[in-house]
Symmetry: C2
Subunit: 209 residues, 2 copies
Protein backbone atom coordinates (compact mmCIF):
# COMPACT_ATOMS: atom_id res chain seq x y z
CA UNK A 1 0.00 0.00 0.00
CA UNK A 2 1.52 3.30 -1.08
CA UNK A 3 -1.42 5.60 -0.50
CA UNK A 4 -3.23 6.59 2.68
CA UNK A 5 -6.78 5.32 3.05
CA UNK A 6 -9.33 7.82 4.33
CA UNK A 7 -12.48 6.29 5.84
CA UNK A 8 -15.37 8.74 6.03
CA UNK A 9 -19.13 9.09 6.28
CA UNK A 10 -21.07 11.87 4.58
CA UNK A 11 -23.16 12.49 7.70
CA UNK A 12 -20.05 13.46 9.75
CA UNK A 13 -18.84 17.09 9.93
CA UNK A 14 -15.39 15.98 11.09
CA UNK A 15 -15.09 13.74 8.05
CA UNK A 16 -15.77 16.81 5.92
CA UNK A 17 -12.86 18.66 7.57
CA UNK A 18 -10.69 15.59 7.10
CA UNK A 19 -11.45 15.37 3.40
CA UNK A 20 -10.71 19.07 2.95
CA UNK A 21 -7.42 18.61 4.80
CA UNK A 22 -6.10 15.86 2.59
CA UNK A 23 -7.58 17.40 -0.54
CA UNK A 24 -5.26 20.34 0.12
CA UNK A 25 -2.37 17.86 0.30
CA UNK A 26 -3.25 16.11 -2.95
CA UNK A 27 -2.02 19.16 -4.83
CA UNK A 28 1.40 18.43 -3.35
CA UNK A 29 1.46 14.90 -4.72
CA UNK A 30 0.44 12.93 -1.66
CA UNK A 31 -2.04 10.21 -2.55
CA UNK A 32 -5.17 9.29 -0.63
CA UNK A 33 -7.86 6.73 -1.32
CA UNK A 34 -11.47 7.41 -0.40
CA UNK A 35 -13.11 4.63 1.63
CA UNK A 36 -16.52 4.51 3.29
CA UNK A 37 -17.32 3.81 6.94
CA UNK A 38 -20.88 3.91 8.27
CA UNK A 39 -21.44 5.62 11.61
CA UNK A 40 -25.03 4.40 11.88
CA UNK A 41 -23.77 0.85 11.42
CA UNK A 42 -20.83 1.31 13.78
CA UNK A 43 -23.03 2.79 16.48
CA UNK A 44 -26.01 0.49 15.96
CA UNK A 45 -27.25 -1.12 19.18
CA UNK A 46 -27.39 -4.55 17.55
CA UNK A 47 -23.65 -4.35 16.88
CA UNK A 48 -22.54 -3.31 20.38
CA UNK A 49 -20.02 -5.77 21.74
CA UNK A 50 -20.33 -8.10 18.75
CA UNK A 51 -17.16 -9.55 17.20
CA UNK A 52 -18.82 -9.21 13.78
CA UNK A 53 -21.56 -6.73 12.83
CA UNK A 54 -25.06 -8.18 13.01
CA UNK A 55 -26.64 -5.07 11.47
CA UNK A 56 -25.22 -4.03 8.11
CA UNK A 57 -26.18 -0.80 6.38
CA UNK A 58 -25.85 -2.64 3.08
CA UNK A 59 -28.60 -5.10 4.09
CA UNK A 60 -31.21 -2.40 4.70
CA UNK A 61 -34.13 -2.37 2.25
CA UNK A 62 -34.50 0.84 0.21
CA UNK A 63 -36.89 3.30 1.86
CA UNK A 64 -36.67 1.73 5.30
CA UNK A 65 -34.92 2.86 8.46
CA UNK A 66 -34.17 6.18 10.13
CA UNK A 67 -33.40 9.37 8.22
CA UNK A 68 -29.70 8.98 9.04
CA UNK A 69 -29.68 5.37 7.85
CA UNK A 70 -31.45 6.16 4.60
CA UNK A 71 -29.56 9.34 3.80
CA UNK A 72 -26.12 7.91 4.59
CA UNK A 73 -26.81 4.78 2.51
CA UNK A 74 -28.09 6.85 -0.42
CA UNK A 75 -25.03 9.12 -0.24
CA UNK A 76 -22.61 6.18 -0.19
CA UNK A 77 -24.29 4.55 -3.19
CA UNK A 78 -24.44 7.84 -5.10
CA UNK A 79 -20.72 8.34 -4.43
CA UNK A 80 -20.06 4.81 -5.63
CA UNK A 81 -21.84 5.65 -8.89
CA UNK A 82 -19.78 8.85 -9.18
CA UNK A 83 -16.58 6.84 -8.69
CA UNK A 84 -17.37 4.87 -11.85
CA UNK A 85 -16.47 8.06 -13.70
CA UNK A 86 -13.00 7.98 -12.21
CA UNK A 87 -11.11 8.85 -9.06
CA UNK A 88 -11.22 12.61 -9.69
CA UNK A 89 -14.96 12.40 -10.16
CA UNK A 90 -15.27 10.62 -6.83
CA UNK A 91 -13.26 13.33 -5.09
CA UNK A 92 -15.21 16.14 -6.72
CA UNK A 93 -18.56 14.56 -5.88
CA UNK A 94 -17.59 13.71 -2.29
CA UNK A 95 -16.23 17.18 -1.55
CA UNK A 96 -19.24 18.84 -3.15
CA UNK A 97 -21.70 16.74 -1.17
CA UNK A 98 -19.87 17.26 2.14
CA UNK A 99 -19.83 21.03 1.54
CA UNK A 100 -23.54 21.10 0.70
CA UNK A 101 -24.29 19.24 3.91
CA UNK A 102 -21.80 20.68 6.39
CA UNK A 103 -20.79 24.07 4.98
CA UNK A 104 -24.15 25.12 3.55
CA UNK A 105 -26.19 23.21 6.14
CA UNK A 106 -28.48 21.52 3.64
CA UNK A 107 -30.07 18.14 4.36
CA UNK A 108 -28.47 15.04 2.86
CA UNK A 109 -31.34 14.32 0.48
CA UNK A 110 -31.87 13.59 -3.20
CA UNK A 111 -31.66 17.29 -4.08
CA UNK A 112 -28.24 17.45 -2.41
CA UNK A 113 -27.02 14.40 -4.33
CA UNK A 114 -28.15 15.89 -7.64
CA UNK A 115 -26.58 19.25 -6.81
CA UNK A 116 -23.30 17.54 -5.88
CA UNK A 117 -23.26 15.64 -9.16
CA UNK A 118 -23.74 18.90 -11.06
CA UNK A 119 -21.06 20.73 -9.08
CA UNK A 120 -18.68 17.85 -9.66
CA UNK A 121 -19.33 18.03 -13.40
CA UNK A 122 -20.44 14.40 -13.65
CA UNK A 123 -21.94 12.95 -16.79
CA UNK A 124 -25.47 13.05 -15.36
CA UNK A 125 -26.94 10.42 -17.68
CA UNK A 126 -24.16 7.96 -16.91
CA UNK A 127 -24.38 8.73 -13.18
CA UNK A 128 -28.14 8.05 -13.19
CA UNK A 129 -27.59 4.78 -15.05
CA UNK A 130 -24.84 3.68 -12.67
CA UNK A 131 -27.02 4.51 -9.65
CA UNK A 132 -29.55 1.98 -10.96
CA UNK A 133 -27.00 -0.81 -10.36
CA UNK A 134 -27.99 -0.92 -6.71
CA UNK A 135 -26.68 -4.46 -6.19
CA UNK A 136 -23.23 -3.69 -7.53
CA UNK A 137 -22.99 -0.44 -5.58
CA UNK A 138 -24.00 -2.18 -2.35
CA UNK A 139 -21.32 -4.81 -2.94
CA UNK A 140 -18.71 -2.12 -3.33
CA UNK A 141 -19.86 -0.41 -0.15
CA UNK A 142 -19.86 -3.72 1.70
CA UNK A 143 -16.20 -4.19 0.84
CA UNK A 144 -15.33 -0.88 2.49
CA UNK A 145 -17.51 -1.52 5.54
CA UNK A 146 -15.95 -4.97 6.01
CA UNK A 147 -12.44 -3.58 5.72
CA UNK A 148 -13.27 -0.79 8.18
CA UNK A 149 -14.60 -3.36 10.64
CA UNK A 150 -11.47 -5.47 10.24
CA UNK A 151 -9.32 -2.43 10.99
CA UNK A 152 -11.40 -1.46 14.02
CA UNK A 153 -12.52 1.90 12.61
CA UNK A 154 -14.96 3.52 15.05
CA UNK A 155 -15.32 7.12 13.81
CA UNK A 156 -14.58 9.42 10.89
CA UNK A 157 -12.29 10.64 9.58
CA UNK A 158 -9.96 7.70 10.14
CA UNK A 159 -6.73 7.55 8.16
CA UNK A 160 -4.72 4.39 7.51
CA UNK A 161 -1.12 5.29 6.69
CA UNK A 162 0.94 3.24 4.22
CA UNK A 163 2.98 1.90 7.18
CA UNK A 164 -0.19 0.51 8.80
CA UNK A 165 -0.70 3.12 11.52
CA UNK A 166 -4.40 3.95 11.70
CA UNK A 167 -6.27 6.45 13.83
CA UNK A 168 -9.29 8.67 14.13
CA UNK A 169 -8.37 12.36 13.75
CA UNK A 170 -10.94 14.87 14.92
CA UNK A 171 -10.40 18.60 14.72
CA UNK A 172 -12.67 21.63 14.75
CA UNK A 173 -11.13 24.18 12.41
CA UNK A 174 -11.34 23.82 8.66
CA UNK A 175 -8.37 24.60 6.46
CA UNK A 176 -7.87 24.55 2.71
CA UNK A 177 -4.41 26.11 2.93
CA UNK A 178 -1.82 23.54 1.76
CA UNK A 179 0.85 24.83 4.15
CA UNK A 180 -1.46 24.69 7.17
CA UNK A 181 -2.76 21.32 6.03
CA UNK A 182 0.82 20.05 5.77
CA UNK A 183 1.55 21.08 9.35
CA UNK A 184 -1.60 19.43 10.69
CA UNK A 185 -0.94 16.26 8.74
CA UNK A 186 2.67 16.12 9.93
CA UNK A 187 1.55 16.56 13.56
CA UNK A 188 -0.89 13.67 13.19
CA UNK A 189 1.79 11.46 11.69
CA UNK A 190 4.27 12.46 14.40
CA UNK A 191 1.81 11.29 17.04
CA UNK A 192 1.19 7.95 15.33
CA UNK A 193 4.85 7.30 14.57
CA UNK A 194 6.23 8.43 17.94
CA UNK A 195 8.34 5.86 19.76
CA UNK A 196 6.05 6.49 22.75
CA UNK A 197 3.48 4.21 21.14
CA UNK A 198 0.73 6.79 21.64
CA UNK A 199 -2.71 5.19 21.66
CA UNK A 200 -4.90 8.17 22.48
CA UNK A 201 -4.83 11.92 22.97
CA UNK A 202 -8.35 13.05 23.77
CA UNK A 203 -9.58 16.25 25.34
CA UNK A 204 -11.64 16.08 28.48
CA UNK A 205 -14.01 18.60 26.97
CA UNK A 206 -14.22 20.77 23.91
CA UNK A 207 -12.29 24.00 24.02
CA UNK A 208 -14.05 27.17 22.94
CA UNK A 209 -11.21 29.20 21.49
CA UNK B 1 -2.45 28.24 37.73
CA UNK B 2 1.23 27.99 36.89
CA UNK B 3 1.70 24.24 37.22
CA UNK B 4 0.22 21.38 35.24
CA UNK B 5 -2.25 19.18 37.09
CA UNK B 6 -1.86 15.44 36.60
CA UNK B 7 -4.95 13.37 37.39
CA UNK B 8 -4.16 9.71 37.96
CA UNK B 9 -5.38 6.48 39.54
CA UNK B 10 -3.04 3.93 41.11
CA UNK B 11 -4.88 1.05 39.42
CA UNK B 12 -4.03 2.37 35.92
CA UNK B 13 -0.83 1.28 34.11
CA UNK B 14 -1.03 4.27 31.74
CA UNK B 15 -1.17 6.61 34.72
CA UNK B 16 2.07 5.00 35.91
CA UNK B 17 3.76 5.81 32.58
CA UNK B 18 2.36 9.33 32.75
CA UNK B 19 3.77 9.90 36.22
CA UNK B 20 7.17 8.61 35.15
CA UNK B 21 7.08 10.91 32.12
CA UNK B 22 6.50 14.08 34.07
CA UNK B 23 8.74 12.98 36.91
CA UNK B 24 11.56 13.00 34.36
CA UNK B 25 10.57 16.58 33.50
CA UNK B 26 10.51 17.78 37.09
CA UNK B 27 14.31 17.63 37.12
CA UNK B 28 14.24 20.30 34.43
CA UNK B 29 12.19 22.67 36.54
CA UNK B 30 8.71 22.05 35.12
CA UNK B 31 6.10 21.85 37.88
CA UNK B 32 3.31 19.33 38.13
CA UNK B 33 0.68 18.82 40.78
CA UNK B 34 -0.57 15.35 41.66
CA UNK B 35 -4.36 14.99 41.61
CA UNK B 36 -6.52 11.90 42.01
CA UNK B 37 -9.18 10.60 39.64
CA UNK B 38 -11.07 7.37 40.31
CA UNK B 39 -11.62 5.03 37.37
CA UNK B 40 -14.01 2.80 39.31
CA UNK B 41 -16.11 5.86 40.08
CA UNK B 42 -15.87 7.25 36.56
CA UNK B 43 -16.87 3.92 35.02
CA UNK B 44 -19.49 2.99 37.63
CA UNK B 45 -22.81 1.97 36.09
CA UNK B 46 -24.74 4.21 38.50
CA UNK B 47 -22.90 7.23 37.10
CA UNK B 48 -23.44 6.51 33.39
CA UNK B 49 -25.16 9.44 31.72
CA UNK B 50 -25.57 11.34 34.99
CA UNK B 51 -24.78 15.06 35.08
CA UNK B 52 -23.40 14.58 38.60
CA UNK B 53 -21.96 11.34 40.04
CA UNK B 54 -24.44 9.34 42.09
CA UNK B 55 -21.82 6.84 43.21
CA UNK B 56 -18.78 8.35 44.94
CA UNK B 57 -15.74 6.33 45.90
CA UNK B 58 -15.40 8.56 48.95
CA UNK B 59 -18.83 7.45 50.23
CA UNK B 60 -17.97 3.76 50.25
CA UNK B 61 -17.78 2.16 53.73
CA UNK B 62 -14.36 0.69 54.64
CA UNK B 63 -14.12 -2.99 53.78
CA UNK B 64 -17.01 -2.97 51.31
CA UNK B 65 -17.09 -3.12 47.52
CA UNK B 66 -15.05 -4.83 44.83
CA UNK B 67 -11.31 -5.43 45.08
CA UNK B 68 -10.69 -2.56 42.65
CA UNK B 69 -12.90 -0.22 44.66
CA UNK B 70 -11.29 -1.09 47.97
CA UNK B 71 -7.71 -1.11 46.75
CA UNK B 72 -7.99 2.12 44.80
CA UNK B 73 -9.64 3.90 47.74
CA UNK B 74 -7.01 2.61 50.16
CA UNK B 75 -4.21 3.72 47.82
CA UNK B 76 -5.66 7.23 47.42
CA UNK B 77 -6.05 7.65 51.18
CA UNK B 78 -2.54 6.29 51.86
CA UNK B 79 -1.16 8.73 49.30
CA UNK B 80 -3.08 11.53 50.98
CA UNK B 81 -1.44 10.62 54.27
CA UNK B 82 1.97 10.57 52.56
CA UNK B 83 1.30 14.04 51.13
CA UNK B 84 1.07 15.41 54.69
CA UNK B 85 4.83 14.91 54.82
CA UNK B 86 5.25 17.27 51.88
CA UNK B 87 5.05 17.34 48.11
CA UNK B 88 8.25 15.39 47.58
CA UNK B 89 6.98 12.69 49.91
CA UNK B 90 3.79 12.46 47.86
CA UNK B 91 5.78 12.05 44.64
CA UNK B 92 8.10 9.47 46.14
CA UNK B 93 5.22 7.45 47.59
CA UNK B 94 3.11 7.64 44.44
CA UNK B 95 5.95 6.59 42.13
CA UNK B 96 6.98 3.79 44.47
CA UNK B 97 3.44 2.44 44.69
CA UNK B 98 2.85 2.63 40.94
CA UNK B 99 6.12 0.79 40.31
CA UNK B 100 5.25 -1.94 42.83
CA UNK B 101 1.90 -2.43 41.13
CA UNK B 102 2.70 -1.99 37.45
CA UNK B 103 6.43 -2.63 37.11
CA UNK B 104 6.75 -5.44 39.65
CA UNK B 105 3.21 -6.73 39.12
CA UNK B 106 2.31 -6.90 42.79
CA UNK B 107 -1.29 -6.50 44.00
CA UNK B 108 -2.36 -3.11 45.31
CA UNK B 109 -2.78 -4.29 48.88
CA UNK B 110 -1.69 -3.25 52.37
CA UNK B 111 1.73 -4.84 51.90
CA UNK B 112 2.25 -2.73 48.79
CA UNK B 113 1.26 0.45 50.63
CA UNK B 114 3.69 -0.30 53.46
CA UNK B 115 6.47 -1.13 51.02
CA UNK B 116 5.86 2.10 49.10
CA UNK B 117 6.03 4.12 52.31
CA UNK B 118 9.36 2.51 53.15
CA UNK B 119 10.77 3.04 49.67
CA UNK B 120 9.66 6.67 49.78
CA UNK B 121 11.44 7.15 53.10
CA UNK B 122 8.33 8.31 54.92
CA UNK B 123 8.23 8.83 58.67
CA UNK B 124 6.31 5.61 59.25
CA UNK B 125 4.88 6.58 62.62
CA UNK B 126 3.56 9.85 61.31
CA UNK B 127 2.22 8.17 58.17
CA UNK B 128 0.32 5.61 60.26
CA UNK B 129 -1.11 8.36 62.44
CA UNK B 130 -2.17 10.42 59.44
CA UNK B 131 -3.83 7.39 57.84
CA UNK B 132 -6.07 7.19 60.91
CA UNK B 133 -7.63 10.53 59.95
CA UNK B 134 -9.92 8.78 57.51
CA UNK B 135 -12.48 11.58 57.46
CA UNK B 136 -9.94 14.26 56.59
CA UNK B 137 -8.30 12.10 53.93
CA UNK B 138 -11.65 11.33 52.31
CA UNK B 139 -12.45 15.05 52.22
CA UNK B 140 -9.19 15.73 50.44
CA UNK B 141 -9.86 12.97 47.92
CA UNK B 142 -13.39 14.25 47.39
CA UNK B 143 -12.00 17.63 46.38
CA UNK B 144 -9.91 16.02 43.63
CA UNK B 145 -12.74 13.78 42.42
CA UNK B 146 -15.12 16.75 42.27
CA UNK B 147 -12.61 18.83 40.33
CA UNK B 148 -11.97 15.94 37.94
CA UNK B 149 -15.69 15.60 37.34
CA UNK B 150 -16.02 19.33 36.71
CA UNK B 151 -13.24 19.13 34.13
CA UNK B 152 -14.76 16.10 32.41
CA UNK B 153 -11.81 13.79 33.16
CA UNK B 154 -12.64 10.26 31.91
CA UNK B 155 -9.33 8.37 32.06
CA UNK B 156 -5.79 8.55 33.40
CA UNK B 157 -3.35 10.07 32.97
CA UNK B 158 -5.09 13.34 32.19
CA UNK B 159 -3.04 16.53 32.24
CA UNK B 160 -4.47 20.01 32.68
CA UNK B 161 -2.05 22.59 31.29
CA UNK B 162 -1.67 26.04 32.86
CA UNK B 163 -3.49 27.53 29.84
CA UNK B 164 -6.53 25.33 30.49
CA UNK B 165 -6.04 22.72 27.76
CA UNK B 166 -6.82 19.31 29.21
CA UNK B 167 -6.60 15.86 27.70
CA UNK B 168 -6.10 12.18 28.33
CA UNK B 169 -2.67 11.01 27.11
CA UNK B 170 -2.21 7.27 26.73
CA UNK B 171 1.00 5.72 25.53
CA UNK B 172 2.55 2.27 25.76
CA UNK B 173 6.27 2.75 26.15
CA UNK B 174 7.81 3.87 29.42
CA UNK B 175 10.60 6.40 29.52
CA UNK B 176 12.61 7.91 32.35
CA UNK B 177 14.99 9.72 29.98
CA UNK B 178 14.48 13.49 30.39
CA UNK B 179 15.28 14.20 26.73
CA UNK B 180 12.81 11.59 25.45
CA UNK B 181 10.27 12.74 28.01
CA UNK B 182 10.70 16.31 26.82
CA UNK B 183 9.98 15.30 23.21
CA UNK B 184 6.88 13.34 24.17
CA UNK B 185 5.61 16.15 26.34
CA UNK B 186 6.18 18.73 23.60
CA UNK B 187 4.32 16.56 21.08
CA UNK B 188 1.34 16.32 23.44
CA UNK B 189 1.33 20.08 23.95
CA UNK B 190 1.66 20.70 20.21
CA UNK B 191 -1.48 18.64 19.64
CA UNK B 192 -3.48 20.47 22.30
CA UNK B 193 -2.29 23.91 21.27
CA UNK B 194 -2.57 23.42 17.50
CA UNK B 195 -4.74 25.95 15.70
CA UNK B 196 -6.56 22.96 14.23
CA UNK B 197 -8.50 22.63 17.49
CA UNK B 198 -7.72 18.92 17.71
CA UNK B 199 -10.22 17.08 19.89
CA UNK B 200 -9.09 13.50 19.46
CA UNK B 201 -6.36 11.37 17.94
CA UNK B 202 -7.15 7.75 18.72
CA UNK B 203 -5.86 4.57 17.14
CA UNK B 204 -8.32 2.15 15.64
CA UNK B 205 -6.46 -0.69 17.30
CA UNK B 206 -3.30 -1.14 19.28
CA UNK B 207 -0.11 -1.47 17.27
CA UNK B 208 2.28 -4.27 18.15
CA UNK B 209 5.63 -2.72 17.33
Amino acid sequence: MTSTDLFFDFICPYAWRGLELVNALRAEGETFRLRHFSLVQGNHADNAGQPEPRWWLTDQPPGEGTVSQQSSLAAFLAAGAAARQGEEAAWAFSLALLRIRHEDGQPLDEAALTQAAQTAGLDSGRWAADRADETGLREGLRTDLSEAHRLGVFGTPTFVLPDGHAAYYRFDHLTRDPQVARERWQLYRDVLQSEAGIGTIKRTRRMTR
